[in-house]
């Protein structure tokens, strides 16, 4: 571990101009907020797309003012679906928990003045921004956005507009956008890994790192290994689309009675490459949430994390196993049934570290003194959602059962609960928790609680019935419910889901207004309003430009020393020298 005895090589003076301070900033805190704002913008775009989808699905004749003929077509529904998935997965679930909070909080929590490579950090944000622009621009080209889903299975995604509207320029822009995003994520991952390995303050041993840092660390490693593969896959797909290669397109295809001039490619190759990225991506989205939940449950139960070592091992086990299970997305793909069975057992075993985490979260709050801040409520909600979304994975992990559930709404319910909503609850928990540190003011707790209740009830009202649609065998990605007669009795359930979605999405505006209001008018925050232990609470809110004012702290304690017997306070900050910790008077 490198220690810094001076202000060191990574310190840089605070910039004064607006552009260097807020736009092309090298400060990890500004970049963290930029990522967070990019995710906030994207999540509202993504929710807007889902509102359009839910309207079209249950009221196909609804009057939509800003589209041609005032009605959405099936292909527009699929374009909405593709872009909803892509924007939510890449621009929200990958950016906010890791690049947003990771960037802002990680260097401070390990006692560093900035990330290891500030310029690379700035580049990775602006590359992400470029990728968002390219991706969204797909809506505005001839044919519109692609209709092949966020998984972009070839040959549908590899052929031109002959395969469908949106499969021309729109699909090309999508592939380029995702490839750019891969580059940005690789830069970010390198920066995170180097920062954690090299820039920990004196005394901050690996086993004294907060679980948030462990989660960001393992997530960065996953990102480094996964996004490289997706980048390669995207480049091959781009070559198939533009240069006449045939990596993913087999010979003898006939589309609309026209012969396709390709031969020798394999559609399954894309699926292997995509899911080799895609499954770790699920953990890239959820691991930071797990770290945040552990951190917050401990802080607001006033108890150490139960089984800290087991939690670290579980994070690492999930990270490793996350690379061994991609084949469970391909049980019906025509892949060898023997590898399917192997993938099934590996997938079942990833339930083990997940269960360990759940038990330890319960152990953490057990016998605690639970303080129901908004941040704590979202962390508790995270645990509930993680359990609900996790257990259904045990059905899908078994190939024989998956033969029925694959590509039905059961899968939609499963991954929205665990990867979507649980991860979002992690983001909200983090936001309510660190907002006072980031902006020097508190979010309004009353509005926050209302936001929590509506969101918690709302997401279950949306995604429990989604599973029941899957029980009946409702295929996903259907633009219209007239396609099969067994769908007709399910229309009332679909309507219920749509209405629940509108209410849940509507209640997110409570959060938006709370955020906008509190940035300017919120209650002023002290340095350590939550009586928390980690290093970010040892410095002013908001922190100065170089975090610690040139005095890098020394760490003396583990991250979660709450309610330690013999001490006067119920928390011991990590940076407090043992002789300065107040003892009981007895």
């Amino acid at each position: 571990m490198v220690t810094h005895d001076s202000e060191g090589a990574h310190a840089h003076a605070a910039p004064t101009g607006f552009i260097r301070k807020y736009i092309f900033s090298l400060d990890h805190k500004v970049i963290g907020i930029q990522y967070w704002l990019l995710a906030l913008f994207s999540v509202f775009v993504g929710m807007f797309l889902s509102v359009m989808m839910r309207i079209h699905l249950v009221w196909p004749n609804a009057h939509i003012p800003f589209v041609e003929n005032n009605q959405l077509t099936p292909e527009q529904y699929l374009a909405l679906l593709t872009m909803h998935g892509s924007i939510m997965v890449f621009m929200v679930l990958t950016t906010a928990p890791q690049s947003g909070f990771g960037n802002y909080i990680l260097p401070i929590q390990i006692g560093a003045a900035d990330m290891a490579f500030p310029v690379l950090n700035m580049l990775s944000f602006w590359t992400t921004f470029l990728s968002l622009v390219v991706m969204i621009s797909a809506f505005f080209v001839t044919g519109g956005a692609p209709i092949s889903g966020w998984t972009a299975y070839p040959p549908l995604s590899a052929l031109d507009a002959i395969a469908g509207p949106g499969q021309g320029a729109g699909q090309t822009l999508w592939v380029i956008g995702v490839a750019i995003f891969c580059g940005a994520s690789l830069m970010g991952a390198l920066n995170f890994i180097t920062t954690i390995i090299d820039l920990r303050a004196k005394g901050m041993s690996l086993m004294r790192m907060p679980l948030t840092c462990w989660a960001w660390f393992v997530t960065a490693i996953l990102g480094l290994l996964a996004f490289g593969v997706l980048l390669a896959a995207c480049l091959l797909l781009l070559l198939d689309r533009t240069a006449g290669t045939s990596f993913f397109i087999p010979g003898g295809l006939v589309v609309s009675d026209k012969i396709i001039d390709h031969k020798g490619g394999s559609p399954l190759l894309w699926q292997h490459l995509f899911w080799f990225f895609g499954h770790p991506e699920v953990y890239i989205a959820i691991l930071p949430g797990m770290g945040v939940a552990s951190h917050i449950l401990s802080t607001f139960s006033r108890k150490p994390v139960f089984g800290y070592r087991a939690m670290v091992h579980a994070i690492c086990a999930i990270g490793f196993l996350g690379f061994c299970v991609w084949g469970h997305h391909m049980f019906v793909s025509g892949m060898s049934p023997y590898s399917a069975f192997a993938f099934s057992l590996l997938t079942m075993s990833i339930g083990v570290p997940s269960a360990i985490k759940t038990f330890n979260w319960l152990g953490t709050i057990w016998n605690g003194k639970i303080q129901f801040t908004c941040s704590m409520l979202f962390a508790l909600g995270f645990v509930s959602l993680f359990v609900s979304g996790g257990v259904t994975g045990l059905f899908l992990a078994q190939p024989s059962i998956d033969l029925f559930f694959h590509d039905t709404y059961f899968v939609v319910g499963h991954f929205h609960l665990i990867m979507g909503v649980a991860a979002i609850f992690g983001i909200f928990a983090a936001t309510y928790f660190w907002f006072p540190k980031m902006f020097g003011r508190h979010l309004n707790e009353g509005a926050g609680k209302l936001h929590f209740w509506l969101t918690f009830v709302g997401v279950y009202a949306i995604f429990l019935p989604t599973h029941w649609l899957g029980m009946v065998g409702h295929p996903r990605r259907y633009a219209d419910l007239s396609g099969a007669t067994f769908l007709y009795p399910l229309i009332p359930v679909q309507k219920f889901i749509s209405i629940a979605a509108f209410i849940t999405i509507g209640s997110q505006f409570i959060f938006l207004f709370n955020f906008l209001w509190s940035v300017k008018k919120g209650m002023k925050a002290t340095d350590n309003p939550w009586h928390a232990t980690t290093l970010e609470w040892s410095i002013p809110s908001p922190p100065p430009h170089d975090n610690f004012g040139g005095h890098i702290p020394v760490v003396y304690h583990g991250p979660y020393e709450f309610s330690v017997p013999g001490y006067a306070d119920d928390y011991v900050p990590q940076h407090l020298a043992p002789e300065h910790v107040a003892k009981n008077k007895s």
Partner: protein, 281 residues
């Protein structure tokens, strides 16, 4: 909200919040268990031995998953209410090695054991090849229709030539008339099979990836361009069953649909003759 950690007002608001969250978690458990137990939304009855085996494995999994789900949510609800802030001091406890080992072993046995138990059903449909006398039907997906090819009396499928594909001209698969084997091949947009006879499907696609799905067979198989994938089943209940496409294949995905009719062997032979007559040039 920064506040001092004792005081009556924070305690009473903490009780209300704790009670509400605990109640919601209990309500979640009650609603989920109710609808799964009542089977309000459920699979249609299975029509194969394999399907019944899948249903049995589903129920085994449901019981285990249900117990894990109910106990975890109720434990969370209990802890949230029982350990709410009432001005007490939390018990300092950094973990318990024995418990970690115990629940790790328990979940390994439970989850991996469940996975091993699922092997039989999977082996039946995918490890064991179809019997040599199974009826072969070629299933072809194309935007946005299914076509089913029966080999006719010679038991041989004729050659296909992509250059001859002409969906509107009555040759959706590009059957090559120059090949004598193709003479008695029957290509139809709906599927019929005799009851209690093993059927082997040769699943393929002509353009993009589709997925053959019959809920009552508990069977789904992607139709992947460039591959011919074999699956088999023996339907035991006569009736008519829907075949929706289950893999996103383009703008008409939702309307890519056909039907499977399971009929007596006599009716099946009659059906084949009628279809052949209707298809004769």
């Amino acid at each position: 909200m920064p506040r001092e950690r004792s005081g009556a007002s924070s305690t009473s608001s903490s009780t209300t919040t704790a009670a509400l969250l605990a109640l919601l978690l209990v309500a979640l458990v009650v609603v989920s268990v109710f609808f799964f137990a009542k089977k309000t939304w459920w699979f249609p009855p299975a029509i194969t031995a394999f399907g019944h085996e899948v249903d049995a494995q589903f129920m085994r999994t449901l019981v285990i998953v249900g117990v894990v789900f109910v106990l975890s949510q109720l434990a969370l609800a209990y802890a949230v209410f029982r350990f709410r802030d009432r001005g007490q001091r939390a018990t300092h406890n950094e973990g318990n090695q024995t418990m970690e080992v115990l629940w790790t072993l328990a979940t390994i046995v439970l989850f991996v054991g469940l996975g091993v138990m699922a092997r039989n059903a999977w082996a039946e449909v995918h490890f064991r090849p179809a019997a040599p006398d199974a009826i072969q039907i070629e299933v072809t997906g194309q935007q946005f229709a299914w076509n089913f090819r029966y080999s006719g009396a010679d038991g041989k499928f004729g050659r296909l030539n992509p250059k001859l594909v002409n969906a509107s001209g009555g040759n959706p698969l590009g059957l090559d008339p120059a090949d004598p084997d193709s003479k008695d091949d029957l290509v139809v947009p709906v599927m019929a099979v005799p009851v209690n006879r093993e059927v082997e499907l040769l699943v393929r696609s002509q353009d993009v990836t589709h997925s053959f799905f019959v809920r009552e067979l508990r069977l789904k198989q992607d139709a992947v361009p460039g591959m011919i994938i074999r699956v088999h089943f023996t339907a035991t209940e006569p009736g008519s069953y829907e075949i929706p496409c289950a893999e996103l294949c383009g703008l008409g995905h939702y309307r890519m649909h056909s039907t499977l009719t399971v009929m007596s062997d006599a009716d099946y032979q009659k059906w084949l003759k009628e279809q052949a007559a209707a298809n004769a040039p």
